[in-house]
């Protein structure tokens, strides 16, 4: 399988285009020919992370890294940061806007869903300084 590194931009509050990056990531992984279940897990994590940037972040980027036996997503934004990461990891805890909720998001399941579907999740965030989320996946042997 080829190795690959590709970076995408994500625009905050752009709900019409939100999700396009993740669908592109899904397409790239399908084309490479990864296992369908692995693609499902990566796509879901990419989408939840992308929506987090759209809903909460300033503008941001999603960086996809593909190696022969592993995939990683690094999602960075210049948004307000997460004040309490432990709380943000709790199912049902949400600070989403009314606008995000009207779109069907903001149920407080984003980060928990990412954790559930990934092999490793690291969050680096400070109030006022943006957020970096690093997610990785191993190709099942």
């Amino acid at each position: 399988m080829p190795t690959l590194s590709k970076r995408f931009s994500i625009k905050a509050r752009d709900y019409l285009r939100a999700g396009e990056v993740s669908i592109e990531v899904q397409g790239i992984l399908k084309k490479i020919g990864f296992d369908a279940e692995l693609i499902r897990r990566v796509s879901i994590c990419a989408y939840e992370a992308e929506m987090n940037v759209v809903m909460h972040g300033g503008d941001g980027t999603l960086h996809l890294f593909v190696d022969t036996d592993a995939i990683a997503l690094v999602v960075k934004d210049s948004g307000p940061g997460i004040e309490n990461i432990e709380l943000a990891m709790k199912e049902g805890y949400s600070t989403a806007s009314e606008e995000a909720r009207e779109m069907g998001f903001g149920a407080g399941m984003g980060l928990p869903n990412i954790k559930k579907n990934s092999d490793s999740l690291k969050i680096d965030s400070e109030k006022g300084k943006g957020t970096l989320v690093a997610i990785s996946f191993h190709q099942p042997a």
Binding site: Y15, L16, A18, G19, E20, S22, I23, Q26, E37, R40, S43, I44, A46, Y47, E48, M51, M103, G104, F105, A107, M109, G110, N113, K116
Partner: protein, 119 residues
Amino acid sequence: MELAQIKEALKANLIVGEDKLGMKIEAGAGGDLMSDLLRRPMHGVVVLSGLNNMQVIRTAVIAGVAAVVLVRGKEPDQEMVSEARSHGLPVLSTPFTMFTACGRLFRQGLRGLDQKLSE
């Protein structure tokens, strides 16, 4: 159950997916919370939604949903239609409310995503 039977049971309008009416649908789910749809494998699952926006289509594509039914007669806009079409995702619109639409499919024998619980 085939998608054509779902269309009939819901007296639905098929907006995208003329070529997919023979598709096998194994289960149904109803919901307006996108993250709920991203919790589990959704292959062969028809999703009924009261939300009518682009994120329903993108969530369905990401989650691998088989088909989307918009309830209460909602019609997707042109952007949603072309997005669904480009991903081969069937979209239907039913005049029934969420509760009634789910009930009609359940009565036809379509199961939900619940695990078996003891009574």
